[in-house]
């Protein structure tokens, strides 16, 4: 009975440990893309993995960084351990402590501080900074592995070698090195593994266009993890497993039994026996290292000579460009595009501000552009190089003046309005005013945006004030109004407005025009209107940062984006309104081309205003008031 319990316990633990990996392996052979369904066995993901250049490149970078960092760290760390070992007791304790700290330190602190250091030293973030960072955090692991082995070495053995005429280096190689070799190789393997799966530090120290597997997978998560990643993870898991098995199953050279066998073999044949473990650590690993480095050198060398300095580094929102557009640009101009994505303005801003990475063009939102101009982070665009600017509608240029008063810094890329989406089956009356959101008839059928500026915009506009007001009295009024509205509101949400409205779960919802185009297609009963009191209009526009290294290429790229056929492609991919009038006319579907939702008339647009950057104090007031509303 006890035996059975023991066995069950062990099986349970093994199950808990390996269930996730087993799931992953199974999914890598699943022909259905769905994670919940088994669609039959397939090797397609493996073959498409090897055809996916981006993943293979990231995989290669990961391997190269891990091998190089581990090798260099092993060298430095071993020398350090030898040095520390030779120190006096007090100094040794201090230094061991100092070298241990980076291991205990939080990774994010390490990542940020390394990034700051690189910026201060004016090292451009890229492959080399990732490598330097990895070497830095690998060294303590090597020291940790080598130092105890160093302590076990017999100083007399080293001295005996010297005594017999060996030079210090030869004596070290023949006596100490074989003794500490297990520590060195476990230090190397540990460093290699640490580098292989590091995410946080890599994320902070990487530059545009360079990705390791972890950062690549992270950026893929937004779009949903592809089954190729399962296949890749399976391959990684199996290779690590095989390596471990090889090392552990090989006979250890130190056991007396093996030594006896060894001497018998030596007596019989005059040759030493060759050990599997020695083969793996002594031959296989360095061999692999050399092969990968050579291949990588040729690969990278080829790539950089092809691209050379003729490149443009683009920093854009996720899913905010048609990938074909990038390929087409590269083909037409021969300029290599290095493309990076961000999720929010607030993630993008500090990167530009710190100057850690020099981007050629970035696509921030209106208020952020204002902030960047105020902080002198942008340079004027030379519009002589962007003749296609003529395709951008004048009304949008004018609206942009709210955040770029002279129209010298930005080129509008996407825009939209905020308005009311309503279900024509549930709302009989014509919707023209924000007032309807305070109509008790629609109690529990109203959806509000769960966002401070959007919520206050609705109330302020209804009251006839500016959505950018900092007047305390006006804000108090708006707050009271929002509190009064609260009993009628079904929910304060962001993304769910779309789904709830499609599912006829609410009659009225505050929503952005880009979403409205999509919902109207899914549920023909839904209509979108920008109320007469006016609303918010937003812009995402291209700008060129002050430290852009390839300004001319950036202008070529922006000119390309302003070409009507390209703008149309992007509009169809992104579905947000394009300010490119020429592209608007190219839209084939008349329902969309003439849609008041996608392209409201100038009069509507003129009633709307963009959000301005209000400064930290005003932001705090807004947040405090919003908290009062939500907690009332």
């Amino acid at each position: 009975m006890k035996k059975i319990l023991k066995r069950i316990y062990m099986i349970l633990i093994l199950f808990l440990l390996y269930a996730p990996i087993a799931t992953l392996i199974v999914l890598s052979f699943n022909s259905s893309k769905s994670r919940a369904k088994w669609g039959g066995f397939t090797l397609d993901w493996y073959s498409s993995l090897f055809q996916n250049n981006e993943i293979m490149e990231a995989f290669y970078t990961t391997l190269l960084v891990a091998l190089l960092a581990a090798a260099i760290a092993t060298l430095i760390g071993t020398l350090a351990a030898i040095g520390i070992h030779a120190m006096g007791k007090k100094a040794r304790t201090i230094f061991t402590g100092i070298t241990n700290i980076p291991m205990l330190n939080s990774e994010i602190v390490m990542g940020v501080s390394l990034m700051l250091l690189f910026i201060i030293l004016r090292i451009r973030l890229g492959f080399s900074t990732i490598l330097l960072a990895h070497i830095t955090f690998d060294i303590p692991y090597v020291i940790l592995n080598v130092l105890p082995k160093m302590k076990q070495t017999d100083r007399n053995v080293y001295e005996a070698a010297l005594d017999l005429g060996a030079t210090p280096f030869y004596a070290f190689r023949k006596t100490i090195l074989p003794d500490i070799m297990p520590g060195i190789s476990s230090g190397f393997l540990l460093s290699f593994t640490m580098s292989l799966d590091d995410f946080v530090i890599t994320y902070f120290t990487k530059g545009p266009g360079v990705d390791t597997l972890s950062t690549k997978i992270y950026s893929e998560v937004r779009k949903g993890i592809k089954p190729e990643i399962y296949a890749l993870s399976t391959i990684l898991f199996v290779s690590v497993m095989l390596l471990l098995l090889l090392i552990n199953l090989a006979p250890s050279k130190e056991s007396p039994k093996e030594l006896e066998k060894d001497s018998r073999y030596l007596a019989k044949t005059g040759h030493r026996r060759i050990f599997t473990r020695h083969m793996v650590i002594g031959r296989l690993v360095p061999g692999l290292l050399i092969v990968v480095l050579a291949a990588g050198g040729i690969y990278y060398g080829g790539k950089t000579t092809a691209a050379g300095q003729n490149q443009v580094i683009v920093y854009n929102w996720g899913e905010y460009i048609d990938p074909d557009v990038l390929t087409q640009f590269e083909e037409e101009t021969g300029i290599h595009v290095i493309y990076e994505e961000y999720e929010t303005n607030e993630i993008m801003y500090p990167k530009i501000k710190a100057g850690a990475v020099a981007y050629d063009c970035v696509c921030p939102s209106d208020y952020m552009i204002q902030k960047m101009i105020d902080n002198d982070l942008l340079q004027k665009i030379d519009f002589d190089n962007v003749p296609n600017i003529k395709n951008i509608g004048e009304i949008y240029e004018k609206a942009s003046q709210a955040f770029d008063p002279t129209n010298e810094y930005s080129i509008p890329y996407c825009w939209g309005t905020m308005g009311i989406l309503y279900n024509t089956k549930m709302v009989d009356e014509p919707v023209t005013s924000w007032k309807i959101l305070w109509d008790s008839k629609y109690k529990d059928s109203i959806l509000m945006q769960d966002s401070v500026r959007d919520a206050f915009c609705v109330a302020l506009k209804y009251l006839g004030y500016s959505a950018n007001t900092t007047n305390m009295q006006e804000l108090q009024e708006a707050k009271d109004l929002l509190i009064a509205q609260k009993p009628l509101v079904q929910a304060y949400v962001i993304d769910q407005v779309r789904d709830k409205m499609i599912g006829n779960e609410a009659a009225l919802g505050v929503i952005y025009s880009g979403e409205a185009i999509y919902t109207a297609r899914e549920n023909p009963d839904l209509a979108y209107v920008v109320p007469d009191e006016g609303s918010n209009v937003w812009f995402d526009s291209w700008v060129i940062p002050k430290n852009a290294p390839h300004k001319e290429n950036a202008e070529k790229f922006l000119n390309f984006l302003c070409r009507p056929d390209i703008a149309l492609k992007n509009f169809e991919y992104i579905t947000y309104s394009t300010p490119n009038v020429a592209a608007q006319q190219l839209i084939e579907d008349p329902d969309i081309r003439d849609s008041q939702v996608a392209f409201p008339d100038d009069a509507t647009l003129e009633r709307c205003e963009t959000y301005s950057y209000l400064g930290a104090d005003a932001e705090e007031i807004y947040n405090d008031l919003w908290n009062e509303v939500k907690s009332s």
């Binding site: 007399n156 005594d163 017999l164 023949k174 001497s263």
Partner: protein, 357 residues
């Protein structure tokens, strides 16, 4: 007189502010078996390591055959060391261990093979070429370590407590082996040990050290029979060391009793240290003794009995082949030749007397 092969001149060495050797002077003659003897921490190993080149003296010079080798690293010195814990190369076979030094000197393989066979034969380890150190016993490992050193034909072999880790029987066997080797090879041995018996057995010359100072240099007989101070007397064999007063030449008062002796020149009425070896204390009938006492303990030691006799307030250590029961009353006499008189040190500092040349 053979010439000086190694000459240590005014050597001083300290670690972390603690002085280990203070102005030490010592020479080793060619073909001599010299032993550095002393308790642990006396500086004997440091002295050896300075000769080997593993330690650098703070001041002073090391001369080898008249040439200054103080700055020469160990791999350039014409001497080889046998370490206390053998220090064999664990990853190499016995043959590879022995060939190590020869390979560095680029000797031809045939010569190396001959040497390996010769050296193994010399240390009675024929046929052990392909064994590994871990599969050898302590004594065998030590023999290999010695073989590894001597194949290089050094002028001097330095041995740092080479038998310290072996058991008694093996140690005694190895002592004879070493003496035989020394005679066959005809090279100089510098031997470090804390075992006075080992030193007495093997050496031509013994250097007794304590607290970084040389206490006495001499032949084993000199050291044993004529210790120059209480430390040497105490360290070399068991001794009865007593406070005495020199009444006049050839007469010393111990424990209130006047003993005739053979020493002269200590002045009159001077306090002195008196050394009497336990085997020189004769037990006689109470009425025949110079003083009388009672046996307080008795241990059978094989060749003799070891007894303690309390007489005149002092516990006398006595070695005798004749048994006296515990509690029995005995008389004690000492032959005048067996009474060793030494000057009392005037302060504790002087207890360690540097012996200059």
């Amino acid at each position: 007189m053979k010439n000086k092969l190694i000459d240590l001149v005014n050597i001083t060495k300290s670690y972390d502010g603690v002085t280990i050797l203070d102005d030490l002077n010592l020479y080793i003659r060619e073909n001599e078996f010299l032993t550095l003897l002393g308790p642990s921490g006396c500086g004997k190993t440091t002295t050896l390591r300075i000769m080997g080149g593993f330690e650098h003296p703070d001041s002073g010079k090391v001369l080898f055959d008249g040439k200054d080798i103080t700055e020469l690293p160990p791999n350039k010195r014409q001497l080889n060391t046998v370490f206390q814990k053998y220090a064999l190369f664990p990853h190499m076979s016995v043959a590879e261990n022995i060939a190590f030094g020869l390979k560095i000197r680029n000797k031809p393989q045939a010569y190396i093979n001959d040497k390996i066979r010769y050296a193994l034969k010399l240390v009675n380890m024929d046929g052990a070429e392909n064994r590994y150190p871990a599969s050898l016993s302590g004594g065998q490992q030590q023999r290999v370590a010695i073989a590894r050193a001597i194949v290089n034909e050094p002028k001097v072999l330095l041995l740092d407590e080479p038998l310290g880790a072996l058991d008694l029987k093996l140690r005694q066997d190895m002592q004879y082996e070493l003496m035989r080797l020394k005679n066959e090879l005809g090279i100089t041995f510098v031997y470090v040990t804390h075992d006075q018996e080992e030193a007495l057995t093997m050496s031509d010359t013994i250097v007794v050290m304590n607290q970084g100072y040389i206490q006495q240099v001499g032949t084993p007989e000199d050291i044993y029979n004529e210790p120059q101070n209480a430390f040497v007397a105490d360290f070399i064999g068991d001794s009865n060391i007593l406070d005495g007063r020199m009444i006049q030449d050839k007469l010393v008062e111990i424990l209130g009793v006047k003993f005739p002796c053979v020493d002269t020149g200590f002045g009159e009425n001077r306090p002195v240290d008196v050394v009497i070896r336990p085997e020189d204390v004769e037990l006689v009938k109470p009425e025949d003794g110079q003083l009388t006492g009672r046996v307080t303990s008795l241990i059978f030691k094989g060749v003799h009995y070891e007894m303690e006799v309390r007489a005149n307030g002092f516990d006398w250590l006595v070695h005798s082949t004749r048994l006296q029961e515990v509690g029995s009353e005995v008389g004690i006499t000492v032959d005048p030749f067996n009474i060793q008189i030494m000057n009392k040190p005037e302060s504790t500092d002087e207890e360690a007397v540097p012996v200059g040349e």
